[in-house]
Subunit: 178 residues, 2 copies
DNA sequence: CATGCTATTATCATGCATGATAATAGATGC
DNA sequence: GCATCTATTATCATGCATGATAATAGCATG
C-alpha cells in the first residue's frame, strides 16, 4: 500500500545476528575473524544504534557479506486524501528521536510543524498541510519557534499573504540556533 | 562480466556530496539541518572512511534520503578456469589493508593463503587452490603461521592426508593470536 | 555434580569521531 | 578595492565507540 515500503528496512543488529546464526558461528569466532571484540559484536546485535562503518566493514568481511550503504533520494507520494495514519507513516522518518503518533498531530501541532518544515520535503509539507487543514497548519507555522532562518523567512512571506501574524520574530541566528 | 558487480559500490563520500549538490545546498546548510557540524560533513565528503551510522542517519534526513545499510551474503562464483586476474578479483575484498595484485599470488603465496583461509569463503579457497595448483597451495598452507586455531586444525588433517608436514605447530592461543 | 562452551552485561581505560573555532583560499557581487 | 559567501583544513577539547576483562547465567556433556 505504501510505495516506499519497497526497501526491507532490517536493522543492522538483526542482519548481523541472522547472518552469524546462518553461518553457525559464535560471537567470539566472528569477532576474532573480524578483528573486533565479542563485547562489541554482542552490543551490535543487541539494540546498539551507533555503529561505526569501519567496524561494520570488518564484520561484513568476517561474515562473507557485501556491505552496501546507500542513500536513496526520497520520493514522497502526493496523497490526495490523507487519513491520520497516511499522514503519520511518511512523516515518521522525520521524528527519529521521538516516535510520531497520530495523536501528536492534534496534541503537539507546533512541534510537528517545526520538524516537518525544517527537515521534510515539499511533499511532506503538502501532506501535513492537507492533513491539518490550511488554517490549523498556518496557525502552527506562525507559532513555530525553532525554524531555520531561511525556512522562517520563506514562511513569513506565505503567512503575510495569508494575513496571519507571526508569533515569533525571526531575526538572526542566536542562542536558539547555535 | 562479473556477476557480483550488480551493486554499484559508490562511496559514502561521493553519495553525500552528489546528493548535496543535487539539492543545491551548502555544507553549513546541510550540517545545520542534520544537527551536525560543517567540519564533520566536509570530512565526510573528503576521504573519510570511519563514519558513524548515527551521523549518517541524520545526514540522510537532512538530504531527504532513505539510508539503507545492507549485508548481502556473498555468493562467490565457481570459476572453472581461473586466470590470474579471475583469481585476484574475487579475492581482492579480503585484502582491505593492502591491495592484492596478481603477482602477490606468486611472490607472497603464504600471506595470501593465510588471509584467504581465515577470512575467505569455501569458494574463495577453492578458487585460490585452483589458481595456485594443489601442490603450491598445500605447501603454502603448511607454511602458514597466522591461521586461527580452528582453521589450522582443519587444515592439519587435510595436510596429513596429503602427506605434507606442517612447518608450524599449532597448539593454543598465544601471543600471535591475542 | 563438575566442566566447558555460549551469550550478555558491567566496568574501566583508551582511541577516535565529533563539535567548535579559526585560518586560509576561492568565488561572487557591490 | 572590500565584503560575503563558500569549502577545506588544522587544532583542540569532549563525548562516545571500542577493547579488555570479568562477572553472571544458560546449556550442553561427561
Amino acid at each position: 500500500m505504501h510505495d516506499n515500503s519497497m526497501s526491507d528496512v532490517v536493522s543492522v543488529s538483526e542482519q548481523l545476528k541472522q547472518r552469524r546464526l546462518d553461518l553457525g558461528l559464535s560471537l567470539s569466532e566472528v569477532a576474532r575473524r573480524a578483528g573486533t571484540s565479542a563485547a562489541t559484536l554482542s552490543r551490535y546485535e543487541n539494540g546498539w544504534t551507533r555503529f561505526e562503518t569501519y567496524t561494520l566493514r570488518k564484520l561484513a568481511l568476517a561474515l562473507n557479506c557485501e556491505l552496501e550503504i546507500k542513500f536513496s533520494p526520497k520520493i514522497t507520494s502526493n496523497t490526495p486524501i490523507p487519513t491520520p495514519q497516511d499522514a503519520v507513516d511518511p512523516l515518521a522518518r522525520l521524528f527519529w528521536d521521538h516516535p510520531l503518533t497520530a495523536d501528536d498531530l492534534e496534541t503537539y501541532p507546533i512541534w510537528v510543524v517545526e520538524r516537518v518544515l525544517d527537515f521534510g520535503s515539499l511533499p511532506d509539507v503538502a501532506l501535513l498541510r492537507a492533513r491539518m487543514g490550511p488554517q490549523a497548519f498556518l496557525k502552527a507555522v506562525a507559532a513555530a519557534q525553532r525554524l531555520s532562518p531561511k525556512t522562517a523567512n520563506f514562511w513569513q512571506h506565505i503567512l503575510k499573504m495569508e494575513g496571519i501574524r507571526c508569533t515569533k520574530k525571526y531575526s538572526r541566528n542566536t542562542a536558539w540556533n547555535s
